[in-house]
């Protein structure tokens, strides 16, 4: 069974004036189809305003489709009675680390989700400990979140989701407000959860270097999925990516330019090592 299945999804933001007349309709998502298998690491790329965050909010049943259907673990998000079960199985991490931490002590914040689910007290403690350990933040359990760095806060937010034992985590630009170190920490934490706990990950981002290790990449533009494939397939189309206002990782771009100039380098180079190898081969 698919973890997440999206069929012909469309969503419109409708702006109304004071009398309730429709002022303008903004079609943020326009006919998206997407299947995510259990245990996959999926990345959704897109420039600002491409509809990627709106898409993420559908998976957590924060927004409901205007047209089309979204299933999460086989449950339709448009059915009111499903929403809590959906939110339990598909957790969501947001962009701003400050605005999603509810409690003033790290462990209490991680316990917030299980508390809402009605988990018995002893089990909450167990889950809090396990999830803090999973994101490597156990030593900070009694700290105040205000004193932590952005990357640490974001890992706390991930632990807060993990404590709800979801099958899937949706991360909506979790690194947009972080420094490079924090970004690295968060992304490697997410990968670890994906590999060790077999958590399905849907990572929404506009940082290209974060999607290199994903199983599958979707590129969105104007509410539609315009490219999909493995990172290598996606990154071999540098021109197309640039058309969608996306940057490619530096190595990939360098390899691409060298290839254009006639060097015999394979398409879709993703890492420095790969490029070095390819260049070594040419040198003989």
């Amino acid at each position: 069974m698919d973890m997440v299945k999206i069929k012909d999804l469309a969503f419109e933001y409708i702006r109304r004036d004071e009398e309730g007349n429709v002022e303008s309709i903004n079609r943020a998502i326009d006919g998206v189809n997407l299947d995510v298998k259990k245990g996959d690491f999926i990345a959704v790329l897109g420039a600002n305003g491409s509809g990627k965050s709106t898409l993420a909010k559908h998976i957590n049943a924060i927004l409901y489709p205007t047209e089309g259907t979204v299933w999460v673990s086989g449950l339709k998000t448009s059915d009111e009675e499903n929403i809590w079960e959906i939110r339990e199985s598909a957790g969501m991490v947001f962009q701003n680390p400050d605005n999603q931490i509810i409690a003033t002590v790290v462990e209490e914040d991680v316990g917030f989700g299980p508390e809402n689910l009605g988990v018995p007290t002893e089990e909450i403690w167990q889950r809090v400990e396990d999830s803090l350990r999973a994101v490597d933040m156990l030593e900070y359990r009694s700290h105040s979140p205000n004193k932590l760095s952005g990357g640490q806060k974001q890992r706390i937010a991930i632990a807060g989701i993990m404590a709800m034992k979801p099958q899937c985590i949706v991360l909506d630009e979790p690194t947009a407000m972080l420094d490079p170190d924090g970004r690295k920490d968060v992304i490697s934490t997410v990968h670890k959860l994906n590999q060790q706990d077999n958590i399905t990950v849907i990572l929404i981002t506009h940082h290209m270097d974060e999607v290199i290790d994903a199983d599958k990449v979707f590129v969105m533009e104007k509410g539609q999925v315009v490219m999909e494939g493995t990172p290598r397939e996606i990154f071999s189309k540098v021109d197309e990516l640039k058309r969608y206002r996306l940057d490619v990782p530096q190595v990939t771009e360098l390899a691409y330019e060298l290839r254009k100039k006639g060097l015999d380098i394979p398409e879709g180079i993703l890492s420095v090592e790969e490029l070095v190898q390819a260049l070594d081969k040419i040198r003989g």
Binding site: I62, R87, I102, E108, F112, E115, N116, T121, G160, M164
Partner: protein, 273 residues
């Protein structure tokens, strides 16, 4: 400067006071506040001061840190002292122009000033030693009977705890906006009251906008984590009274009884002032 305000913050150290049940501390604070208004002589203050000093000692919160909290009320304090000092009628001690200081004025200025200080110290000691979550848990449990008359106790408690969590964040933000506006030539320090109040508009508007945005984000994050009000919720740290809480209640009651005894007999003792 704005970050110096320490009222309402939690000070994480390991002490007996930190481990007490929040209900004890809430009830204790209430008793303490009542107690400082029960007497009119200095004998009472001796008891209050001793009590306060001993619990400050027990809390392991540095004294300097606690006193910092008084900065926030310095204006109110000065006002209180000023009005009591000059506007109380009685036997005149000193007279400078139309300003008269009477014996009674001096007395009540001192007392009101001290009461305010004790009030702030006592209640901030509670917040230093109690995490906002514990505090609201305690309040929720203490006020629970009200939910039978349809008071949304859980919701109120949740609102309070979120407000407390966002105090430092919004303060930081105020600081940031202030600096940003100052860098563009805004002036918050000079001019009369009206000019200064007007100067605050470019500070308040962005602050409110961002507060609403944060509130919106937070509500979404809470819903995403399955928050749906108090129904069916369990607690990570449920409240149970322990032996030390009973001892603390005994200690409190002894103190309170002492203050009552002092307030009854204080007039028979020789006056200190």
């Amino acid at each position: 400067m704005i970050r110096d305000i320490t009222i309402g913050q939690y000070y994480p150290v390991d002490s007996i006071l930190h481990h007490l049940d929040p209900r004890v501390k809430l009830n204790g604070t209430l008793l303490f506040i009542i107690s400082i208004f029960l007497f009119d002589t200095f004998y009472g203050y001796i008891a209050v001061t001793l009590f306060l000093l001993s619990i400050i000692k027990m809390s392991k919160v540095p004294f300097k840190f606690i006193v910092k909290g008084l900065k926030a009320i310095i204006i109110i304090l000065l006002f209180t002292v000023f009005f009591n000092l000059f506007l109380t009628r009685g036997d005149i001690l000193v007279q400078v122009g139309f300003l008269k200081i009477s014996k009674q004025g001096l007395h009540s200025a001192l007392f009101m000033g001290l009461r305010l200080i004790f009030l702030i110290l006592g209640s901030s000691l509670m917040t230093f030693t109690t995490t906002p979550n514990q505090l609201t848990d305690g309040l929720e449990k203490l006020l629970w009977p009200l939910s039978y008359i349809k008071v949304p106790v859980h919701e109120i408690a949740m609102m309070m705890s979120i407000a407390l969590r966002f105090i430092p964040i919004l303060l930081e933000e105020t600081d940031k906006i202030m600096k940003a506006q100052m860098a563009r030539g805004a002036d918050f320090e000079s001019g009369g009251i009206i000019k200064r109040a007007k100067g605050l508009i470019p500070l308040l508007v962005p602050l409110f906008v961002s507060a609403f945005r944060r509130a919106n984000d937070l509500a979404m994050a809470m819903e995403a984590r399955c928050y749906r009000g108090g129904k069916g919720r369990t607690k990570m740290k449920p409240l149970h009274y322990k032996g030390r809480d009973g001892l603390a209640y005994v200690f409190l009651l002894v103190y309170f009884a002492l203050v009552i005894v002092i307030s009854i007999f204080e007039n028979r003792l020789p006056t200190l002032l």
